[in-house]
Symmetry: D3
Subunit: 319 residues, 6 copies
C-alpha cells in the first residue's frame, strides 16, 4: 500500500464494515487490571474524525508496540451501539511506512501562505520601530513560522485544525484593524502586535504531528507561560528594546484570557489589554459557535446542547 | 436670586465655607430612631458632584417638607473629615422657584442633536424595510426621542450623565458598522437595530429630572423588561410586522447582558445576540475605565482600586 | 387503524418486540455528516414515556418528511442495552390521520375544570376591586383559559404534564390562603393575585400539542418576560387600573424566581414578592421531589441520585 | 445609684452630652501596639443600642480591670462624626453593683410565658407518643426552659433580642400548623417536633447575660452541633425511644440550614426536612426584613441597602 | 459449595462466561415502572470490583427476596459493550450460607494489628493526662476498637477499603509527629489527639459488612456529627475532664473539613485546627491520587481525567 | 538632621503632636478634581507602620515634587477620629539627604545570613547533580542572592517584611525535609528544589527600597511568570540540563498556588507539585495567622475579624 492508498476514512465507516487500513492511535486506555486479563479501549483517528475501538485479546503482545500518536494498521470489524460505531480490533500494528500525513488530521480550508502574507502586511502597518522589528524577528525565524502556520488554535473549541492558530491570529488582527481607532486612548501599534502574538505559545501547547492533542509542556505549563518565554527570547535578541514596551506586551499575553479562572495569572490592567481580551473572546466564541452550528442538522432550528456554553443555539432565520 | 444665580457648586466647597445656596436633595436617611431625637443624614448634589450633610436639630419640622429629588435651599457650614467634606445644615427648605436645571446634573460634553442625527443616518443604512420602519416609528415619537436624548446610560458605571444613553447607543452602533461584515453569518440589519434599541428601557429605568437615580420602576422591573414593553408597543403599531423578526429583536434585548447573573433572563442564543452582547460589553467597559482613569491623579501610573472590576488599572505609557 | 387503535405504548416495549405503531417524533438528531452516509438518532414518545431510536438507511429520503413534534408511524424492532431499549427503525412516515391526542402526552390526574373552578373561587375572595377585575379579564378570555388549563408547568422538573400549570397555580394559591395572614404586613390580595398569575407566561413558553418541549419563544424570551407582556395586555384593557398596583404585580412576576441566577432580572424587593418566591419554591420543590420519589423502586429506602438537587433522597419511614 | 437609677440610655445620647452612667462593655479592641502608648476602642451598650467609645490615656491601668460583657460605669463626653456618636471616655470602672439587667439588653415585646404556653399547647397536638414524650422531657427540664424562654434567635439578623428564640420557634410551629396537611406525604408530628426543636442549640450558641454575642462554644461548635447534643441527651433519657424516629429528628436539625454553605453538614434529604428548611427560611427572612424595614425612615419608599441580602427593599404602598 | 469455594471473581469475568457464583448485591435499581413489566438493574460486587447486571424476567418474584447488601447466588451469562461487561441474570437468590466474607470486600494490604499497636504507641507520647486518658478509654472499648480497625475511610476517594480508616488515622498521626514542633504555638498533644480521633464518626458513617456504602446514619448525619457524639460519650465517662480541652477537641472534629462547602459547620479557628485540616487534606489527597495513579495504564505518562479534582495527572518521570 | 536623627516614629504619634520628621510617602491620592482646588490624601510610613495624612493647600506646588516611595520631610499636626490618627500636613518636601533606610521598613527578626547558610546547607542535601548545580548557579549570582535575602514574601498577608522571602523559603524547605519521605512516590530532590525556588519571582514582584509595595512588573506579570523567567535564565546557562527535570520544576512554580483562582495558570498535576502546594499553603497560612494573632489584644480570647479568611480566630488556651 503506498502513501496515496488509505482506502477508508473514519467518516465513512458503517456497522458491519470489515477494515484493514491505517489510522492514528489517538487514545489508548487500559481496562481495569483486576486480574491478568487486561483489555484495551482505543480511539482511532484520521482527518475525518475519530472512532472508538476495543481490543479483547492478546493485549500484552499488542500494547507495548503502539504508542498514542503512532500510525497503526488496524484489522477488524465495525460494530455499533446507539449510533456510535466502534471497531472490534483483531490486529493492530505500528505502520507509518507509507502514509500521507494530510490524510490524518483536519486542516484549515484557507491557504496558509496567503493568510501569512496578509498577516505580514498587517505587521507592516505598525509605526513603532521596535514593535515592527520584533515581529520581523519572528517572521525571519523559519522554524517559528513553520510552526505558526501549522499549529491549531485549540484541541476542540474553535479553530481546532492545522492552520487554525494562523487563521485565528489573522482574523483577530483584522478585527483590531477595524476597531483600534474607534476609541481614543488605544495604542494601535501595541494592540496589533498583541493580537498577532497573543497565542504564540500554542505552537508548543499542542502536539499535531499525527493528531491534535495537548503536549506535556502544554498541560504542565499553559500556552500563556510558554508564549512569554518565546516573546522574551526574541526581545532579548533586539538591542535596547524599550523595556516599558516589553512590559506592556508581556502583560497583554499574560492577561489575554481575561480572568484568573480562565488561566490568566493577572487580569487585563491596561486599556489595550482590556480591549485585546474582548476581541479575542469575540473571535474565539463567534468562530466556535459557527463551527458548532455547521456540524448540526441543517434542517433544525436549534442546535444540540452546547455544554461548555451551557445553552442551545438558534440557527433559524430572522424572518 | 434668579435662575442664573447659583453661586457655589459642590466641587468648589471647602471646609470652613458658609453656604446659602440651592442644591438637589439627593439622599435623605433618618438616623436611629431609638428616642425622639431623630437626625438626618443627607446628600446634596449639583452637576459638579455630591456632598454629604447632616441635620441635627428640628428634624421633625424639616423632614416632611423635603423629598429626595427636590431642589432645596440650604444654609450651613462646611466641615470635613479625611478629605470628605460635609455640610452641617442649619436650615433646609424646598425651593425650586428659580433654578436653572442645567446647574444640577452632569451632562454629556457632546452635542445631543448631532449625535441623534448621526444615529438616524445609521438607521437609514438598514436595508430591511420592517426594521427601518420600526426605527422610524421610534424617531417619530417625540416624547420618546426627547427622553432618549436626555437619559443617562447608568447611575455610576459608564456614561453616567444626561445624554449618556444616546452617546453609548451611537458609539455601539458605530462599532457595529465597523465589525458587522467581518463575520459571515451576521445579519447586519438586525445587529444594527439591536445596537440602537438595546438599552431603550433606560429612558424609564432612571429618574434624571434633578439628579440621576434609579426610578421605582427601574429597581422593580429592570430596563430589560421595560425595553421589551417599549419595543412591543411600537411593533404593535406596525401592521404585519414579521413575527420572526420581532422575536429575534426581543431576544437581543432580553439577552444583551450576556448571563443571568448580569440580569438577562436568557443568555444570547443567536450569533447576532452573542456579538451584540460582546460589543455592548466593550463599549461599556472601555468607556467606564476611561472615565475612571480620567478622575485619577494625572501624575500617577496606577489608578486607585476599581472595586467593581476588582483591580488597579495602569495608566502609564508604553514606552 | 382508527384513533383508538394505538396498540403498544412506550412503557410496554421490550427488547425483541416488533412494532408498527404511531408515536410522536420527540427528537431528531442527525449523525456526523463527515461523508454522505448520514444516519438519524430519534426519540419517540407517547403519554407513557420516551424511547430512543436509530435510522441507519435512507435517511435522506426519510428525514425531510418528518419534523420534530409530528405524529409518525414507525415500523421497526426493539433492541436494548443496559436496560435502555431503543428502536431500530425500518420505516418512519408522518401519519397523524387518526390519532387520539390523549394517547401521546402525559396529563394531570386531577380534573382541570374542577381545579379551575376552585381557582376562580379563590379569586373571588380578593377584596380589592382592581385585582378582582383583572383576574376576571383573564377568566373571560377563553383562549387564555383554554391554554391555562392545558399548559404544563415544566418540561421535566415538576408538574411536567398537561394541566400542570393549573395544578401548580391552584396549589400555590391554596398555600397563600393558609399562610397570608400569618404575618402582619402582607397584602393578601396582592399575594393571591401574584400566586395565580406568576407563571402565566408558561402558556407560551412550552409547546404541548403532541409532546412537551420549550417553544422558540420560551427559549428566546423566558416565561417571565412573556408573562409581563400578557399581564400588560390585560391591564391596558382596564380603564384607570391603579399604576402602583400594576407595578407591584409586575414586580412579583419579574422577581418570582428569587435571584438572577434563576432567571429573575431583579430579586424580590417587597415583602409580598419575597413571600411569593418562597411559597413558589416550596410548591415546585415539594412536588418535584414527590414525583421523583414516585418514580423510584418502592422497596428501596433511598432514591437514585437527584442530579439537579445534588443528593439522594430518603423515602424510608420515620419509625 | 440604685438599680432603677440608670439615667441615660444610648439612644438618647447627643454630641456634647456629659455622661456618668452604667453600660455594658460590649467590645474592647486594643489599638496598634507599636509602642507603649496603647489605646482602647470600646463599644458600650444598653437595651437601646450601642455607642462607640475611645480611651486615650492610662489604658494599662484601666484595661485589665474590665472584661467584655461587664457592667461598667463610664464617665466621659459624647463627641460625634457624620451622625455616629462616640464617647471620649475619661474613666471606666467595673460596677455591676446595682443594675437592673432589663435596662441593658433588648427583649421581645411579647409575653414569654404566654408564648411558651402556646408552644406547649401545640406540642400537645402531636399524636405520636414518643415525640410528645420527648417534648415533655424538654418542658420538664426547668434549666432548659428558662434558657429557651430567654435566649435570642440571632445576634443581628432576625429576632435578635431576649425571647427571640422562643418567638421564632413558636411562629415556625404555627406556620407548620397551617401548612403541614397541604401536602400528602408530610409527617405532621415529625415536622412539628422538628420546628419546635430545630434551633435549641441556640440556648448555648449565644451569651446573653448582659449583651447578645456568640459564646465560645457557639463560634467553635455551631448551634446545629450543640442542638444534636441536647437532643441526644433527652432521647437517651427515654427508654426505647424509636431509633428511626430519633434519626429522622436528628436529620431535621442537621439539615435545617438547607445547604452546606449555610452550615448544615448535610442538606435536607427527607420531605419533612426539605419543608422545615423552607418554612424556617420564610420565618427568619420575613421577620428579618420587617425588622429592618421598621428601623428605616418611615417616609421613604425605599430602605437603605440591605447588605446580607444585597438589595434595597421597597416599603411603598401597593396603590 | 463451601466457604472457600467462590470460583470466579468479578475481575476475571469476560464476555461469554457462564457464571454460577456468589456475589454481593451492591445496587438494585428498578427500571421505569410505566407498565407492569418492570426490570432490574443491579450491580454485583466482590473484593475485586463491581460488575453491572440486568434482570429482564420475573422481577416481581425475584426483587422482594434480595436486598442491597445481601450475598446472592447468581446464574447468568456475561455480555459486554465498549469494554464494560454486564451480567444478563437468569436467577438470583439470597444465599449467604457458606461464604468467606474476605472474598467480598477490598481490604488494606497492611496489618491492622500492627498499625493499631503503632497508633497506641503514638498515643502514649501524649503528655497531657486528660488526653492520654481519653484515648485510653477509646482503646479499652473493644466494640469501638473492632470497628475502628475494620472501617474504611471512604467509599471511593481514598483509603476506600477495610482498614482504611485506621491506615489513614495512623498516617496522619505520623505526619503530626513529624510536623508538630516545626511551628511555635502548636499544642502537640491536642494536635495528636485530634489527628487520631478526627474521623472516628466513620465507624458509623459506612456500612461495610458485605460491601462499602454509606449507612443511613452516614447520609443523614455526616461523620462529623457522629464523631462528636462518640467523643462526648467518652468524655462524659471521665470525671472532671477539663471542659476547655473538650471544647478544643470538639472544634477540631467540627472543623477538620476546612470549610462549610466541604461539610464543616464551622471553619478551623484555632492554630491547631487549621494545621490539622491541612495535614488531613494532604494525607487524603496524596493517597487518593496515588491510588488513582495505581489503577491506570502503567505505560502511559498521563492518567485519565480525574473528575473530582478536575484534571489529568502526570505519572511520567522527572528525567 | 543626620541619618540617626529620625525623632518620632509612626507608632508613637498621638493626636495633638506637632511633627517635623522624615517619612516614606507611601500613598498619594488626589481628591476629586471638580474644580481647581485639588487636595491630597497621603499615607506616610516608617518601619513601625503607616499613618494617613491630608494636604489642603498648595497642592499644585507640592504634588509634582514628591513621588510615592520618596523620603519626605513632613511638617504638620496629628489629629484623629475614632482611634485613627491622621496628619494635617503643612509642608511636605522630598528629602532623602540623610536617612537610615533601616528606620523606614519592617525587617525580619532573624539573621538573614544565618538563614541563607541554612538554606544552602539544605541544597547540599540534594542528590541529583543537575538540581544541586542549578541551585549553585543561583547561589553564585550575587545580585540574585542579595535580592533573595532582602525581598519580602508579601505586601500584607504573611512574612510582609524585608527578609520575609528568605524566611518563608527556608521554613518551607525545612518542612519538606521533615515530610518528604513520609510518602512513597515523592521525589525529595525535586520537592526540595521546588520549595527553595517556588517564590523567586518575588524578588521582582515587590518594590522594597523605602516601603513594601507591588512593582509595576509584579502587578502586570505576577511573580509566577517572573519566576519562570528567572529559572529559565539559569537553566539555559547549564549545558545539557535534563529537559524533563526542567519541565517538572517549571510545573512546580507554575502550579504552586494550587488553582487558577489563586493565580496558577495550571493546577498541580504531579504528586510533587500537589505536595508542594499544600506545604506552601501551610507555611503561608500558619505564619499569617500567627502574625495576625500577635497584633491583637493579648488579653482577648478572640482576634478581630480576619477579612481574607472570613473568620475570627481563637487565641485562648486549651485548658
Amino acid at each position: 500500500m503506498d502513501a496515496a492508498m488509505k482506502k477508508r476514512f473514519v467518516g465513512e465507516l458503517k456497522p458491519g464494515d470489515v477494515i484493514d487500513d491505517v489510522f492514528v492511535l489517538y487514545e489508548k486506555v487500559m481496562g481495569q487490571k483486576r486480574d491478568g486479563a487486561a483489555y484495551l479501549n482505543v480511539a482511532l483517528s484520521d482527518k475525518t474524525g475519530r472512532i472508538r475501538g476495543v481490543i479483547w485479546e492478546n493485549v500484552d503482545r499488542i500494547a507495548p508496540g503502539c504508542t498514542v500518536g503512532d500510525y497503526v494498521r488496524v484489522q477488524g470489524v465495525v460494530s455499533e451501539y446507539k449510533g456510535v460505531s466502534q471497531v472490534v480490533v483483531k490486529t493492530i500494528v505500528r505502520d507509518g511506512s507509507c502514509v500521507d500525513p494530510a490524510d490524518f488530521i483536519p486542516v484549515t480550508r484557507r491557504n496558509p501562505d496567503q493568510m501569512f502574507e496578509r498577516l505580514k502586511a498587517l505587521s507592516e502597518t505598525i509605526k513603532k520601530d521596535s514593535l515592527r522589528l520584533l515581529l520581523d524577528r519572528f517572521w525571519r525565524d523559519e522554524t517559528f513560522v513553520a510552526a505558526f502556520k501549522t499549529a491549531p488554535a485549540a484541541k476542540q473549541m474553535h479553530h481546532a485544525y492545522l492552520g487554525g492558530l494562523l487563521e485565528h491570529s489573522l482574523s483577530l488582527a483584522l478585527l483590531v484593524d477595524r476597531v483600534a481607532d474607534h476609541y481614543a486612548g488605544i495604542d494601535r501599534d501595541l494592540l496589533m502586535t498583541g493580537a498577532i502574538l497573543h497565542d504564540i505559545g500554542k505552537v508548543r501547547e499542542f502536539e499535531y504531528r499525527t493528531r491534535i492533542d495537548y503536549s506535556d509542556e502544554g498541560r504542565l505549563m499553559n500556552h500563556i507561560v510558554i508564549g512569554i518565554a518565546l516573546l522574551d527570547e526574541k526581545i532579548a535578541s533586539i538591542p535596547e528594546f524599550p523595556p516599558q514596551t516589553a512590559l506592556m506586551l508581556r502583560h497583554m499575553i499574560v492577561s489575554h484570557h481575561g480572568t484568573r479562572e480562565f488561566g490568566s495569572p493577572e487580569p487585563p490592567k491596561t486599556l489595550d489589554a482590556v480591549l485585546l481580551n474582548y476581541l479575542d473572546e469575540i473571535d474565539s466564541k463567534i468562530n466556535g459557535i459557527r463551527e458548532f452550528m455547521g456540524r448540526q442538522d441543517p434542517d433544525a432550528d436549534w442546535t444540540e446542547y452546547h455544554r461548555p456554553m451551557e445553552r442551545f443555539f438558534y440557527k433559524g432565520k430572522s424572518e
